[in-house]
Symmetry: C2
Subunit: 200 residues, 2 copies
Amino acid sequence: MSATKLTYLALPGLAEGIRYLLHYGGVQFEDERLTREEVAAMKEKLPLGQVPVLQIEGKTLFQSQAICRFLAKRFNLTGKDEWDSVQCDIASDTIYEIRNAYLTFFHEKNEAAQKEKRVAAVKKIDFILGKLEGHLAKNDGHFVKGQLTWPDFMIAAFAEHINSRAGQDMFAAKPLLSALRDEINALPAIKAYIEKRPKY
Amino acid sequence: MSATKLTYLALPGLAEGIRYLLHYGGVQFEDERLTREEVAAMKEKLPLGQVPVLQIEGKTLFQSQAICRFLAKRFNLTGKDEWDSVQCDIASDTIYEIRNAYLTFFHEKNEAAQKEKRVAAVKKIDFILGKLEGHLAKNDGHFVKGQLTWPDFMIAAFAEHINSRAGQDMFAAKPLLSALRDEINALPAIKAYIEKRPKY
């Protein structure tokens, strides 16, 4: 079997969920962390000119959510039936909306416009996190009631990055999301990974 | 069994892929098309304050991609194994990047900035469509070789909207994408739907 290799930047971003799942599943892999310049230099060779890219069992996968769902199926993290599975997909798409929200200001070059967009984005992120918090309240603190599923890992993996981009602790007033994040981060494989990962 | 009902705006946008799949699967459903004002008025009642929302078998589903994947599984449109399935997910995420690209200028209020962003977005959309065209070339003109899968429906359902937002025919120099779109649009259930749907 060919070696498993994840290629991304030296930050959590779109790869941290993949890293969490690979560690949870006990997969030995090369966690390649490149500079933006190194990624730019290999752009032509990348499937869509972007990272993350996962090489696994001789195949090259891209699109972070697609990779996470693929791994989640392998590690029985998609629930017990089609309804659980669609709940996972809904939750993951909603978590990615948070990322799309902070992208609206992150790439804005005009300073005044960036400030204005950041305020709107933080408001939107708080709204989405509030909806997720409400969902957890009805499902015993998990995205799918009574089960550990892959969006639980996604929110934990994204949490630090969300806070960093927003410039504030967006989870402070979200006790259930905070508890879920802490629960995932306390899983032995994830805890071991966090302790040894490079500082962001 | 409770009635199936899709709620969205009176445009293709994020719902057209769902409409295509429901028609393909022969599902009888109410295709509710609201004005922006009507959606705004019911915002509080919507799961994430937004549409599309699909009510099916007593459940309320949201997030358009999650809904499409759910329907695709029902109608055997996710390929034969986990590798086909992840190819479908990669393709669908990539098609949604096109939408994210045109959103960058669509909501920009500053006229000069919108013009500049539109040029960048059209360039990015053309780049992504070029990558998809290359993928089709290696897979007999489908997203998963030798099989009809749900991203085939997604690109066909999105095509008109992409062109409308870009203000030009982005498929003109993409013969394989154009042929795939035409193949899907010629399927009896899709053809019948297109003939009777409201003009956009």
